[in-house]
């Protein structure tokens, strides 16, 4: 089954059960966060490093590698100086 999420306003398709990070990667996006001016995405993949955090449905600091995506999730990138 397929689901659809929104990333910075753009629709992305994923498979049911995938993490938000998994959907972003399978749609060719490697980064979705800016930290100290550089681009970051998945690093540890298991919830340890916090490199992958995004805002989900208005809630900040959600680890994309750990959160299973739900149909209709609104995901936004986060910027940290």
């Amino acid at each position: 089954m397929s689901i659809r999420i929104e990333f910075d306003g753009q629709p992305l398709d994923g498979r049911d059960g995938q993490s938000i990070g998994g959907i972003l990667l399978s749609n060719g996006r490697r980064t979705w966060r800016t930290a100290g001016g550089s681009q970051r995405g998945i690093f540890c993949g298991i919830g340890i490093c916090q490199d992958c955090v995004v805002t989900v449905n208005g809630v900040e600091g959600v680890r994309a590698c750990q959160r299973t995506a739900c149909d209709g999730d609104r995901v936004e990138r986060e910027v940290r100086a």
Partner: protein, 457 residues
Amino acid sequence: MSVRRIVVIGAGPAGLAAAASAARAGADVVIVDEGERVGGQFWRHHPALTDQRLQHQLGRFRELESALGGVRVLSSASVWRVESGAPLRVHALTGPVDGAERRAETLEADAVVLATGAHDRVLPVPGWTLPGVTSAGAVQALAKRDGVSLGARTVVAGAGPFLLPVAQSVAVLGGEVAEVVEAASIGAILRGWGARAWELTAAAGKAGELGSYVASLMKTRTPYRFGSAVTRIHGDSSVEAVTVQRIDADWRPVAGTERTVECDAVALGHGFTPRLEAAIQFGCDITPERFVRTDEQQLTTVPGVFAAGEITGIGGADAALAEGEIAGLSAAGIRASDPLLRAPVAARRRMRAFAARLATHAIRPGWTGWLDDDTIVCRCEAATKAAIAEYSAASSRGMRLATRAGLGACQGRTCGRSVEDILGAPSGIDRRPVLSSVRIGELAAHRPTHPLIEEES
């Protein structure tokens, strides 16, 4: 005696074996894990998304899962605080990962089994913050959990037999493995793994699993380099190539041996580091090698608190299973002399022979030789090698406050051990008042029975 209440923290091989055996021995068991499904790092499969070829020992997993009949399984539940005493207390938050409205719950227990496992240890290298560079475990996690691979052409580098299943995962998902780069030299490997080989035949299951990876690498003609390391990662906005260089027995890069290998992804793994926070918060003694100290029954130095799996030593899933079974039975009150313990104790002995061989791949201090002054060591706070080294004479707290190393979002989980290697001294970085990601609001709502922040000694 009344029924023993047991809480198991962590549902990987060790925790599952502990919960199943404690329940079998008549205890009242709760198992808690932050993941959505039980299985830990080894059994991280998804029913629809995981390629079957990536999942090992699934039969054993099913067996354990069906033995959980009478066990209360709390998934998507992060343990963020524990308290020793009688009763022991375990505080958990349940709900969607990092959600704003998780449910708080405190579990009381006569015995706790800690089985919180380990995560990759990744040594910094110039360029390692570029998109496309991940831990080796991330490749496994993405392959198993999401059915996703990171790049078309991957370099897998670091140390230890774990690089083998990682390379296999890349290949199964249709990617090319440009090279596997192993830090231990071929001589060290023959000495380490070849010596007293008869001890290893008893751990034949694990050896067979490794053998199947080697066979699959040979089929795809994947180059396997020994005594070498990725000492630099190149690219503008994303990984484009790596420098592979020979290293000496101390892991110091050998000048003049550099080669460039083109790739669009790099998986780095230099072994594993245990997740000790809960054990430290309980007050368990930690060995000089930085594992939880346990006795023959897997009991820690804190009454009622047992530990099993990779937090007591890195030894793979089979060692974790054996230790978990011993811990679960002992926590349930089964005596050391009971015949029930014979099989897991024998299995633990066999697997320790395997675990001892992993020392062949242990990190050597010369690795810091491949860092530039401006290489980022702490990814969260972008603290560089030079900034950290400048404070090597300061107190650990002083160094952290000045450089911010280890004070970012991951609380030094990624960089802590590397910072210590650069400073040449332990930094107390594993002592964390909060064990997992918690929101300020969730903290504010908590009524502690003991003060939250203990003074650092």
